[in-house]
């Protein structure tokens, strides 16, 4: 099946996740595209089925039941739709899919210098939707035999090897190639094919690389990802990763050959599709944004700042399979600081482990929900720290300095994530998309990310960003329509003054002017206080803030600011808890503060 030239009016898209295959139906209603129905079924990559298409067919069968549209003829998807033949409820125009089943795309990357080509290779693989299992470099501190053992034991789906600028030294990259050859790496899936290896390093080393790796791997050579120190060129290598993902990795996974034949556009790795839709929206709206998808095993963070897209995967930060690792990495105290009651350490530890071994369970009591949302805050926080460390400018680049830089000498490779310039946070994943109250999603993200100044927040309603990402490659209008109307749920705007003060001290005075028919509200926001004003999804308000002398609202300390702010399902949140956010150190005071905040915003049932 191929994408037809005729306009698309009925589209089905699936995302084959590691546990669930999610199908959505998109239909053109009048002049706009809308997501109309959704079905899901367990993914069937593993035994006893070992055929991904079974799960796809099951999810489509559920779509048929719900929508009344006949999509399947036996095990064949009916295309195109039969509207022209007088059967408007039969067939679809295109079927598209993303996949992260079977563990997604797992890669190992290698570069000459860790903080330079090593990081560029890592950014390249992450941007292509891969999980990076390890980054090898000449200077990574490991002895040669340790590197070789590591390569041998990892069994990635593919390797990306880079190193050196074009025309520069070949020694280091050849050395890395020698280690890879010595390890005789084998792919994760399938015994009978060679491991795909992409070489995207110094072009002068290509012949040597061919000699060393040509027979031991399925070698593909592409443009250098760092042709000169001052510039990254990630696109050609990313394209090769996608090609090899389809040709080698997916082709080895059970049932994918059939699935590839069914789809009207290349199957994309799920995170690559999510990244694509985020990048598209950020560019269209001229926004700086952070997107997060917090799952059971991993947390993906995407950002677009100044048009530069970055993605990271925190492989073991998640809320079911990896929940215990969040505890190990964040520490018990950091989790407990968000919990509005006390609990014995042993009980909490056992509960978290029980969630790890039975990951599909859901919180049944309020205290369990509060614990799970506390863990989510820490997973989100840690994943953003990880993201900031990788979403940086290029390291090792000589900077031109002017006279004005004399007093501020910044090293190269600073993070691109500037929370003050952040316009929008998009949350996704069960705990954010399906929180019983939307304000819970909003406060989890505000607590974890500590946005500064004015930041809009939203959630993905039913996790359809992967579908829309791949759809954007076929029909951008359809993807945008559905993204704006059905996918994004705007929660509102958070206003967070920067600065700290004692509880009860004046933080800022405010005046909020709403539209016609609603009286303005004014008052004083004190430190240690949260205030929430209802402001609907399509509503806007103007807020004037007159901060205390030590408080900054993006225009400098003590300077008044007036801004238009957007509403959402939660509204306008004034956060006077200070930035950086500091919770009271004493347990009783902390519990009292949490309880007060939760009541103010109506976080939980009474």
């Amino acid at each position: 099946m191929t994408a037809s030239a005729q306009p698309l009016s009925v589209i089905i898209a699936t995302d084959c996740g590691s546990t669930t295959t999610k199908a959505i139906l998109i239909e053109k209603l009048g002049n706009e595209y809308r997501q109309t129905y959704r079905g899901e079924a367990p993914t069937t990559v593993e035994a006893p089925f070992e055929d991904v298409t079974r799960g796809v067919l099951n999810s489509l069968a559920e779509l048929e039941d719900l929508s009344g549209r006949k999509i399947l003829d036996g095990e064949r998807i009916i295309t195109p739709n039969h509207a022209a033949q007088g059967e408007p409820k039969v067939g679809v125009d295109i079927y598209i899919s993303t996949s992260s089943a079977g563990g997604g795309l797992q890669m190992m990357v290698a570069g000459a210098v860790q903080s330079m080509t090593g990081e560029s290779a890592q950014r390249c693989a992450l941007g292509a939707g891969a999980i990076v299992m390890d980054v090898l470099a000449s200077n990574d501190g490991r002895l040669p035999h340790e590197k070789i053992e590591r390569i041998r034991s990892l069994r990635p789906d593919m390797i990306l090897l880079s190193g050196g600028t074009d025309g520069g030294t070949v020694t280091h990259v050849v050395e890395m190639a020698e280690y890879i050859a010595a390890a005789e790496p084998r792919p994760r899936l399938g015994m009978s094919y060679q491991l795909p290896l992409i070489y995207a390093g110094n072009k002068n080393a290509r012949d040597r690389i061919k000699e060393i790796l040509g027979e031991k791997t399925s070698l593909v050579i592409t443009d250098n990802i760092r042709p000169v120190l001052e510039r990254e060129n990630l696109a050609p290598a990313r394209t090769k990763i996608h090609d090899l993902f389809l040709e080698h990795v997916m082709a080895q996974a059970p049932g994918y050959k059939k699935l590839i034949e069914w789809t009207g556009a290349p199957i994309m790795p799920t995170p690559a599709a999510v990244g694509l839709i985020m990048e598209t929206i950020a560019k269209r709206e001229h926004l700086n944004l952070i997107g997060v998808d917090i799952g059971g095993a991993t947390t993906d963070v995407f950002s677009v700042f100044g048009g530069v897209f970055n993605r990271t995967v925190s492989a073991n930060l998640g809320l079911s399979y990896s929940v215990s690792n969040v505890l190990a990495e964040a520490g018990l105290a950091n989790i407990m600081r968000w919990v509005p009651f006390t609990i014995e350490e042993q009980i909490l530890r056992n509960r978290i482990k029980n969630k790890m071994i039975r990951p599909t369970t859901i919180p049944q009591t309020l205290d369990e929900l509060q614990i799970e949302q506390a863990i989510a805050r820490e997973a989100l926080r840690l994943a953003l720290i990880h993201h900031k460390s990788l979403a940086t400018g290029l390291k090792g680049v000589q900077q031109e300095r002017s006279i004005s830089d004399i007093f501020e000498q910044r090293a190269s490779g600073q993070t691109l994530i500037d929370m003050l310039k952040l316009d929008l946070i998009v949350g996704s994943g069960g705990i954010l998309s399906h929180a019983p109250r939307r304000v819970q999603s909003m406060l989890m993200m505000v607590d974890a990310y500590e946005p500064l100044g004015f930041t809009q927040l939203s959630v993905d309603s039913i996790f359809m960003m992967p579908h829309l990402g791949v759809l954007s490659t076929v029909n951008e209008q359809a993807a945008t329509d559905v993204f704006v109307r059905d996918c994004m749920i705007y929660l509102g705007t958070c206003v967070a003054p920067i600065g700290q003060g004692k509880d009860g001290e004046r933080c800022t005075d405010y005046t909020i002017s709403f539209g016609e028919g609603r009286s303005p509200e004014s008052g004083t926001l004190t430190f240690g206080e949260l205030r929430l004003f209802p402001l609907g999804r399509d509503e806007r308000a103007q807020i004037e803030l007159r901060p205390a002398k030590q408080v900054d609202l993006s225009e400098g300390k003590g300077r008044s600011v007036t801004r238009d702010v957007h509403g959402g399902e939660v509204g306008l949140l004034l956060d006077g808890r200070g930035r950086p956010l500091q919770l009271p150190a004493k347990p009783e005071a902390r519990l009292a503060a949490l309880t007060r905040w939760h009541r103010t915003v109506g976080l939980y049932p009474k």
Binding site: S18, A182, I362, P363
Partner: protein, 379 residues
């Protein structure tokens, strides 16, 4: 979702299981189709390539990388002894001679004239794949391994650590709700699979290691004891390679939780029999749970008649009357029977709207529980 339920853990008196005993790399298969094998029988063998050592000869001899071939006294592929000279310079004065000696016994693998490095490889290491269970070889996969079939009783645990082992089954307590104190572990339990009830603590684990117990099976343990046993906080449930001195299988979860009566009774029935256990757990897509397999002896097999020849097919869903285990607080660990399966969605205390079921417990009480929070006791 049509089939939303948590598949349970299998506890069954009789099943036929097939174990694929494959090598991680191609090798030689030693068993033949139809062979009767014991757990300890070697069914396949392979040679793992030896470790690689890197020696930068160019640096050591102070020469350019592209010259190193002129200084080698051994060729690629040749064998080397430990401390044997494989490269040297040729100075006019003997006194200035530098020799490069091999740090290992093995062979000279490759030479790089770009980096000036020489790679030396240790001899291959023998890797043997054992049968793991007493049974019959039913399938042979040339170069890869065999499939061993066994008719057995089977208990799946929820979580374990440590790899495959086997030994005689011993009951250390007489009731599924009892805990196992360290003093109750006796030297006679060496190399055996010891079954406890609701709980055992770190002292008991230490004692098991001292005695040389092969495996421990228990309802629950505390996370803090696991941390102490491993020496680190386990972040992700992917286990099987730990070396703690024994294999541990927990059947219910973390905390003090009585072992399901059905499990305890099954294990009691097979006391003194040989059991194969594995703590390997992988809670990701393609779940692997720890297991206890008690192969039937040949006379039992003939008495067993023509049972199923493959694991029972996946069941289609949960039914009224099914035995279920509650797997989330506040009723974690309780076992009951499904009394009702309302089809409509219900709002629970958290305000989430979910599918629920009603469970009746042995004491006559009942509770409404989200379907995601129970698992069927299968078998």
């Amino acid at each position: 979702m049509a089939h939303a339920y948590t598949p349970g853990l299998t506890v069954t008196e009789q099943t036929v299981i097939r174990k694929r005993r494959f090598l991680p790399i191609p090798g030689t298969v030693l068993a033949k189709t139809g062979d009767r094998v014991q757990a300890e029988t070697v069914v396949a063998r392979a040679e793992l390539p030896g470790k690689v050592h890197v020696v930068n000869v160019a640096n050591l001899l102070g020469i350019a990388p592209d010259e190193i071939r002129d200084y080698l006294v051994k060729k690629e592929g040749e064998s080397l002894g430990r401390d044997e000279v494989f490269a040297e310079n040729k100075p006019f004065i003997k006194w200035f001679k530098t020799e490069v000696r091999s740090p290992i016994q093995g062979k000279l693998e490759s030479v790089s004239t770009i980096t000036g490095q020489v790679l030396l490889r240790e001899p291959p290491r023998l890797l043997e794949r054992l049968a793991y269970v007493d049974g019959t070889v039913v399938d042979l996969h040339p170069g890869q391994g065999v499939t061993v079939e066994t008719r057995c009783s089977m208990v799946q645990g929820i979580f374990g650590i440590g790899g495959e082992t086997w030994g005689e089954l011993v009951m250390a307590v007489d009731s599924p709700d009892k805990t196992l104190p360290a003093a109750q572990l006796l030297p006679t339990m060496k190399s055996k699979i010891v079954v406890s009830g609701a709980f055992l603590g770190i002292e008991t684990m230490r004692r098991a290691r001292e005695i040389g117990v092969a495996g421990l099976v228990v309802g629950g343990i505390h996370d803090k004891d696991l941390r102490e046993l491993l020496g680190y906080d386990l972040g992700v449930a992917i286990t099987g390679t730990e070396q703690v001195g024994f294999t541990l299988v927990i059947t219910e979860g973390f905390g003090t939780i009585p072992m399901a009566t059905k499990t305890f009774e099954l294990l009691t029935k097979h006391v003194s029999q040989k059991a194969s256990i594995s703590g390997t757990t992988q809670i990701r897509a393609g779940v692997i749970r720890p297991e206890i397999l008690i192969p039937w002896k040949s006379d039992q097999q003939s008495a067993g008649g023509t049972g199923p020849t493959a694991p029972a097919a996946e069941r289609s869903g949960i039914r009224i009357g099914d035995h279920v285990r509650v797997i989330r607080d506040p009723l974690f660990g309780r076992i009951g029977q499904v009394a009702a399966l309302p089809t409509d969605l219900r709002q629970i205390e958290t305000e989430s709207v979910v599918r629920v079921l009603e469970v009746k417990f042995a004491d006559g009480t009942s509770a409404v529980i989200p379907r995601a929070n129970v698992e069927i006791i299968e078998g």
